[in-house]
Homo-oligomer: 398 residues x 2
């Protein structure tokens, strides 16, 4: 057998997860995950699917019939959305201002889409007027935007206006909410969005590997009127939905234990209430931002209105060693943050406050740990001032 | 919120799972599943991936570098294999003798493959001469076979000969082992197979939702020499492998807890030893088959050499009610078996003996429960004789 040294999973360290996902999980989610497995066609599992589906509708803010969770990750849900909504030759507009929006282009092209990119500066969001200009001059069928760009921490904050523009020009709007859903206000139906997908391991605090999505009426029309088959059988939502609805036609083996965990995560969301959960994320982020700025660090996203509470990108200060700092956080403090992706590699750190992890204690721990490490590296940092500023936010009346 | 009644996961029934997967899981797999989540780029998670990869090589019987597990189900692994190995216009031969081999055709066509089907009677296997005849008369690039057809219980028992024929004609051989790997003898390298995939929830007794595969040298050549991009980004193995090898390039968020469970399942396989595990599956199946035949029931697969130990299809006897029987097994005994799929719907029951569930106690419980239910339906069945015959096998020296 393998010569890999034996790894004792029972001694896996309890990390403080402040990267851009996964986030720390509630004990009830762990308990649900390890409930006895049942068959994927068991009436009990169908009840689990039904309740998860109902709660997903609440989470997405939708009444969409086509609402379900796929046995894949957030990136798989991106691909599932695109393969269903794009036919070869369709013109597609992608608002590109980070790694994940960039990935949309790559996948849309593999679907045969003719992609136009709105190339926005990283750290900025797409403006409605920019979308409108493109739609006026090109017969675009699908517009793809990322609500919270995990690679920059920008929130796309004008979705309702953009949706109106899309529909006025006969285009559908697809939105990636992998890093935002459950952590910031979101209303699929009220904002009239056509298709939305997310992941499990960020603001829902469920293990990675199950990915919810919802398709509205216009998106369903697209599925019905396709002239070509969806190039993916596995992600063909017309087939997958028949397993989720009353037909119960076997498509794939449902990821039973992961669905238990998703359901428990959604119950926790509902017990807290979406409004309270959004407020909790906003409050923790406010403390983090105040603390970082008081320490003398710069946030990458300059416009406060574009800062997503769930992922914050901090510019790495002069003199600090990117890899050593993250290694010290992990090894000395068991605390994970994310490095920069793409254009921000070596230039930014990504700090997540998501789901169970969007709490003041995580903010204080991170600021305290980071301050000590940077000071030890000789970087001039006002560590104490940062903690005081964060504490002031956390202790002020909300 | 939803009006779905609250489902108490803590009271989920402990089923005896004798359908065609998922199978019952070992307590250590449950424990691994709920170990603390860590980041998908955490050095600890990389160790878990490395050890799982090494153990997967043992399981597949291979030294293939490209050996990994995808965050998907067995059907996703089928799709991943086909999208990587097929380019538009490639001629593909599918040995079709059940639902899962039939699905290969559908997916291969969505990849742009020109599919020829070897349409074999359900209950029979593909003969080497049949493959040879096709390869002689057509420029076929890929041959697709299912090792254990979950819809019939047939084992494809002449893979080494077929592999030789494929390679003599310049074709690759892809093999589906979703229902067999870990339960019956299998040797990827010794048999010279080019690509093999499996699932987690059958003979490995790991929750559904993670799917291993391995690609050999010839399959790697195909990936390198492709003239067109793989139509799926999510399943593009050239990208995925960079997350699994020392490059550690982020592709998707690894399904952390599911990988813990996979690793623990693989450790259990290695602790038992593959030879012992195969023997255990064969022994349990022998008892099941003896018991069913002594009860007066007919096995669907007539040739004993083609009966896969892991899935047995029993013909539903005259006078028995398919749905009522399965419902009674589930409700009175907490025991799941599978109904017939496709052409066998309403005509056969599929009984799984897989992984942790390939044990004499499952055989006896099933025969006892089935005998009572059929007798109560007025079906003439020799229930006692069945139990005696199974018991004789179980108690004979192996």
């Amino acid at each position: 057998m393998s010569e890999t040294p034996h790894l004792n999973l029972d001694r896996a360290p309890a990390r403080t997860l402040m990267g851009p996902g996964p986030s720390n999980m509630h004990p009830r989610v762990y308990a649900a995950l390890s409930q006895p497995v049942v068959g994927h066609m068991d009436p009990l599992y169908f009840k689990v699917m039904d309740e998860a589906q109902a709660r997903l509708r609440t989470l997405f803010g939708t009444r969409n019939d086509l609402t379900l969770a796929l046995p894949t990750t957030g990136m798989g849900a991106m691909e599932a959305s695109l393969v269903n909504l794009i036919e070869p030759g369709d013109e597609v507009l992608v608002g590109k201002h980070g790694v994940f929006s960039g990935r949309m282009t790559g996948i849309a092209e593999r679907c045969g889409g003719k992609v136009r990119e709105l190339d926005i500066a990283w750290g900025r969001a797409v403006e409605p007027a920019q979308v409108e200009a493109e739609l006026k001059s090109h017969p675009i069928k699908l517009v793809c935007l990322v609500h919270a760009e995990t690679s920059t921490g920008v929130i796309q904050n004008r979705l309702p206006e953009i949706a109106k523009i899309c529909h006025a020009h006969g285009a559908l709007l697809l939105v990636d909410t992998v890093a935002s859903l459950g952590g910031v206000p979101f209303h699929t139906d009220e904002w009239d969005l056509d298709a939305v997908y997310t992941g499990s391991q960020k603001c829902l605090s469920v293990p990675p590997g199950i990915a919810p999505l919802t398709f509205g009426k216009r998106a369903e029309e697209k599925l019905k009127n396709r002239k070509t088959p969806v190039q993916s059988w596995f992600f063909d939502l017309t087939l997958v939905r028949k397993y989720w609805n009353e037909e119960r036609i076997y498509h794939h083996t449902g990821p039973v234990n992961m669905t238990y965990a998703l359901l428990e995560g959604l119950r926790l969301v509902d017990e807290e209430g979406l409004e309270a959960r959004w407020a909790r994320h906003a409050h923790a982020a406010k403390a983090l931002h105040a603390g970082l700025e008081a320490m003398g660090l710069a946030l990458f996203v300059k416009d406060p209105a574009l800062r997503c509470p769930t992922v914050t990108t901090v510019e790495i200060p002069a003199g600090a060693d990117d890899v050593k700092t993250r290694k010290a956080l992990l090894e000395q403090h068991g605390l994970e943050i994310g490095g920069g992706l793409g254009a921000l590699k070596g230039k930014g750190w990504r700090v997540g406050l998501m789901g169970e992890g969007a709490v003041g204690n995580h903010v204080l721990l991170f600021l305290g740990a980071l301050g000590g490490i940077l000071n030890a590296q000789g970087v001039k940092i006002k560590a104490g001032a940062g903690l005081e500023a964060a504490g002031a936010v956390l202790n002020a009346p909300r």
